[in-house]
Structures are given as C-alpha cells and as structure tokens.
Amino acid sequence: MASITVSHLTKVFPNGVRALQDVDLEIRDGEFFALLGPSGCGKTTLLRTLAGLEVPAAGQVRIGDRDVTRLPPGARRVAMVFQDYALYPHMDVVDNIAYPLKIQRVARVERRQRAAETGANLGLQGMMDRRPAQLSGGQQQRVALARAVASHPQVFLFDEPLSNLDARLRMEARTFLKRLHAEVRTTTVYVTHDQAEALALADRMAVMEGGRIRQVGSPVDVFHRPANLFVASFIGGTPMNLLDAVVEADGVRVGADLLPLPPSARGLVAVGDRVVLGARPEYAELHHQPVAGGLSARIAIIEHLGTAYLVDLESPAGPLQVVVPEDEPPTAGVAVWVTAHAARSLLYRRDTGELIGTGAPAARPAAAVPAAGADGSE
C-alpha cells in the first residue's frame, strides 16, 4: 500500500496534443480515488502515466516513498485493469490470474493454488478451467480483478473497468468493487467518465478537463460545491441549472425576476456584479401561484423518471429543469413559478467561471478535508 504524489506532470503526445498540463495531485494511502472527466480530458493518460505506460514530458510521479517517474511499468508494483480487461484468450482463467505470479517467478503449483484462492474469493469458483471467451462480461471483469489482486500490488489502477458491462451488471460490479476495496484497502485510482460511478465509489475524486484538474474533493464536496462552471455542469444526474444573473442590493436579478442571494455568496459580491446562478433541478420547487423570489416559467416537456418527474421549463432567462415528486404530476403548457433552495444555490463569476463563496473546497487547505467526507455544514 502506498500514497501517490504527482507534481507538475506534463504529457505531450508526438502529434503535439498536450494531454496533461502541469498536473499536481495527492492520493492518500488506501484511498479509493476517482479521476473523472469527459473523453479527451487526460484522465486515462494520467492513469497510464502512473502505470508507466506513458512517459511524461515533465514532472514527477512518486508512489510511496519512491520516485517512479523513470521506472518501467513492471518495477512500480502497480496492477492495472483495462477497459477491455486484456484477458489472454489462449490461457484459461487460472493461468490468466496466475500470470503476474509467473512473471514474479512463483512456482507453478503454488501460483495456480494462489490464483484459485483469489478467484474463489471473487466468486469465480467452478470456472477456473474455462477460457475468457466462455465467460460472461461480468465474469471476465472479475477475472481481470482477480489477476490484479493476485499480483499483490501497492496500487490498483482501473481504466473504466465497468464501461463494457450492461446497466444492471454495472451496478452489481460497482458494489462488488467497493466491497473489494473495503476488504483489501489497497490504494486505488479509478478512471471513469460516468459521474454517478465516481460519486458512488470514490473516497475522493478529481474532475479533469483539457489536461488540467478542475476540482479535487470528496464526492459530497464536488456534488454540493462544484468549484467552477465546468464541474457544475458535469456533475449530477441531471445537469445543474445555470442562469445568467446580475447582483442587486436585495438579491440577484434573473431576467425580470428578483431571486434571493445564495447565503454562501453573502458579503462577497457587489451590486452590479455579473454572475451565474446555479441550482440543481433536485433542489428547486415548482409553484402554481406567483411567489416572492420565484422565477416565472412555463412547463414545456415532462419526463417520467420512475420516482419523480423531470420537468423541462421555458423561462425568459432560458431553459431550465426541475425535479418534481411523483405525487405532484405536472401538466405541460401551464405557467409556473420556480424557487430554488437558497442554501443549496451557488453563485459563479461570469468572467472566470469560479465559485463565489467561503468554504469552497478549492479555497480550503487540503489537509482540512476529512477523508470520510463528512460535509453538509451549510
């Protein structure tokens, strides 16, 4: 087990693409750390650089107390699970799991026994003599995990290991991964483009965009206090409503309506500041009568989500979405007024896109964030 320290890491591909730009990151010992971002943001490149499969142009990677920047992949004591699992089609399950041990020159009988044990722990008993092609996607994924576990690494590196599974299996595999991590407590770096996966699995996470890290924090931090407009629009099952607004003496003006100033920004903005008001659809409410601090809108489209309705609204300030509980079925076409939980609303500078407000994780010293992610103090 080991911590990982990345400093000033820069990676430039031969075609000139700057995949990583001066990345600094600290991953703690035993932590489940998610790297999240849209495709092309550099998350996989960062993971591959940790593995040693990519050589950085500048910067340093430390695993534990060793500088591994110039070490070949095999000398770093990491194990990687690939998106396509990279199971060897010509070996059966035991040989696949035992392959790292074979490289470590463990004797054949012992490595097969250890592989069988690891496989059994991961629910693969009875499949040991099958070929990967004879396994389901979920089983293949477990074999890949077992192979990583069997090699006893200091660090697990996961490159979107769940993205080749169908939706139901993915949920099961997610729980399985979390349980596995709770058991082995090996430092884990997990790359994903699925924000729900990152929020569900990670102790802490980093959101990346364009080769840079845009926010680091616990899932609760990142969900409740996205540090900038990019993270705000990227995180969340339904995208956050982001409305252009101007600060006035007694609130923020959105279009013709005056909304209350989010308490987190109180005292940090001046009248006339151009800002963006952010409120998640889950933290907004619909009213059928005009209310103070409400935004006037009209219901355009209603999507049924099972336990709730996602209502698409048209307002003078632009389109927005609100989640409504299932026992209040809305009607399309009617005029409504929207209020947002003031305590859950956020204000961003329109020019820089940065969050306004104290207690934003980016502004907090990193050491002050508890690993358990006990937040919720507004």
Partner: protein, 290 residues
C-alpha cells in the same frame, strides 16, 4: 448477345425460344468448364497413374499396370538421400524464417520506425530479386567467399533471405491486430519483451506462424535453382534437383523413374497441407477470435 424485344408481352412462342437459348448457354458453359477442368486435371491424372505403368508415355493412362517402377526407384540410393536432404533443407529454412520473421515482425509492429512501410515494401520488392536468377552470380560469388558452397547452411541462408520479407509482411499484419492492452497489462505486471513475445504474442499469432511455416516448407521443397547452383556434391542434392538426374546423357527423359519419383516427391507436401489445415486451419489475415 443481342436481346430481342419483338413483342411487348411475351407469347408462348418467345417463351420456348428463351428456354432453348438458356439451355444452349448452359450447355456451352459446362463444356467450357469441363475443358478447363480437364486441362488442369490431366497432368494430375498422369502423375497418379504413370508410376504404376511399366511403359509410361506422355499420355495419361494405365496400359501395363505394375509396381516394378517403385522397386527400381528404391534400388537407386540417391532417391532416399535426396528426399532426406529436402526435408533437412525445408525444416532448416522454416526454422530460420519463422524465428527471424517473428522477431522482426514484432519489432516492426511495435516500434516507431520512421518510414517503416517503405522499408517493408522495398524489402518485399527486392526479395524476388535475391532468389531470382538475376542475382545468382553475385550470390554464388558471395557464398563462395563465405565458404558456403556445397553446404546445406548456405542454401538455407539464401532461401531464408529470399522468403523473409514476405514472411515478415504477412506476420506483421497478424501482430498489428493483437490488441495493445494485452502487452501493456503484461508489461505492468513486470514482463519483459521476450517474455511478452513468448507468453502472449506468439500464442496469439500462431495461425500466422503456421501459414508462413507451411508456405516456407512448400516453397523450399519445390525450389530448384538455388540448391542446383550452390550444391555440387551429389550426396547433398535435394529431391527437386534429383529429378533432373533422371535424364540420360542425351537428354532423353526416363519417364518411369521421373513419374514414380514425382509422385513420391508430391505426397509429403499434400499430407502436410492436409494435417495443418485440419489442426490449425489456414488464415492469411490477422485478427483474433476471442
């Protein structure tokens, strides 16, 4: 053929005419195909039948059935020696080609070499020159200076040199189509290049290796010019050159010996082809069945 549109709607008369015409066309096609088939099948029939005829001619047939030809042939000690020499030559060249092509194709498939494809195409182009008749004099001189005249090693090296570019070309395609993640995961677990080649890449491209191995054996088995020029000692002569000795000094062919030896010479290649086809199946492209 001219198409006829005499009436806007087909009458029973034109229907019959159409049927007759279709029938004639079909008969013509079969006659043509039969002729083509016979053209290729007759030499085969000659090869299979003549060894069992005590007075073979250039006509395929079995006028005087006998097994005496085989007795006569095996009385000639050069026959078995030459077949063994052919086996040695074919297996030796096959080993050199497969080993060298596997290493070269792997390197060319994985390493970033500027102008890699141009190098490959130029090699492929020149390979036909190397074992062709145009380069025979320089090759003879080179072999002479290296003291490789009259050695099996010399013939193996020259033949392998001629076959390698195409073998590398075929094998590189197989290597290219194995996913990089297989090797990357092995690298992360600490495997070195030769371990990866042995444990991962070679098992995955085995169909490709089978293709170039068989192709090398067949080519060497049938090659005449290179062993004919480089080997002077009759005890080293392979079967392909041995056939040439079944002529009298005046140039008359001894058809009994030639046909019998010809059959014997063909059988190993056919058997090998069937065995490999059954066990591995030939594929001339890369890609994996997972």
């Amino acid at each position: 053929m001219a198409t006829t549109h005499p009436t806007p709607d087909p009458t029973p008369v034109s229907d019959t005419r159409w049927l007759v015409r279709a029938l004639v066309a079909r008969v013509q096609l079969y006659v043509f195909l039969a002729l083509v088939a016979a053209f290729f099948a007759l030499p085969m029939a000659w090869l299979v039948l003549s060894p069992f005829d005590s007075q073979p001619s250039l006509v395929a047939g079995l006028s005087h059935p006998t097994l005496g030809n085989f007795q006569d042939m095996f009385r000639n000690p050069a026959v078995i020696t030459s077949l063994l020499n052919s086996v040695l030559l074919a297996l030796g060249t096959m080993l050199v080609v497969v080993a060298a092509a596997a290493l070269a194709a792997y390197a060319l498939s994985r390493a970033r070499v500027p102008g890699r494809n141009i190098i490959l195409y130029v090699l492929l182009l020149f390979s036909s020159v190397v074992t062709g008749s145009a380069a025979m004099v320089p090759i003879f001189l080179l072999a002479y200076d290296l003291h490789l005249i009259n050695t099996i090693t010399g013939v193996i090296l020259v033949l392998a040199g001629g076959l390698l570019p195409a073998a590398i070309f075929i094998l590189k395609d197989f290597m290219d189509s194995t996913p990089a993640s297989y090797e990357e995961s092995a690298r992360v677990f600490g495997a070195g290049p030769f371990q990866i080649l042995r444990d991962i890449v070679v098992p995955l491209v085995r169909p490709g290796l089978a293709v170039i191995a068989v192709w090398t054996i067949v080519t060497v088995w049938g090659s005449f010019l290179t062993p004919f020029i480089l080997l002077r000692d009759p005890t080293l002569t392979p079967a392909s050159v041995q056939i040439y000795s079944f002529y009298s000094a005046g140039g008359t062919a001894n058809l009994r010996l030639i046909s019998t030896f010809g059959l014997l010479y063909t059988i190993p290649v056919v058997v090998m082809y069937l065995v490999v086809q059954n066990r591995y199946g030939f594929r001339f492209y890369g890609g994996l069945k997972r």
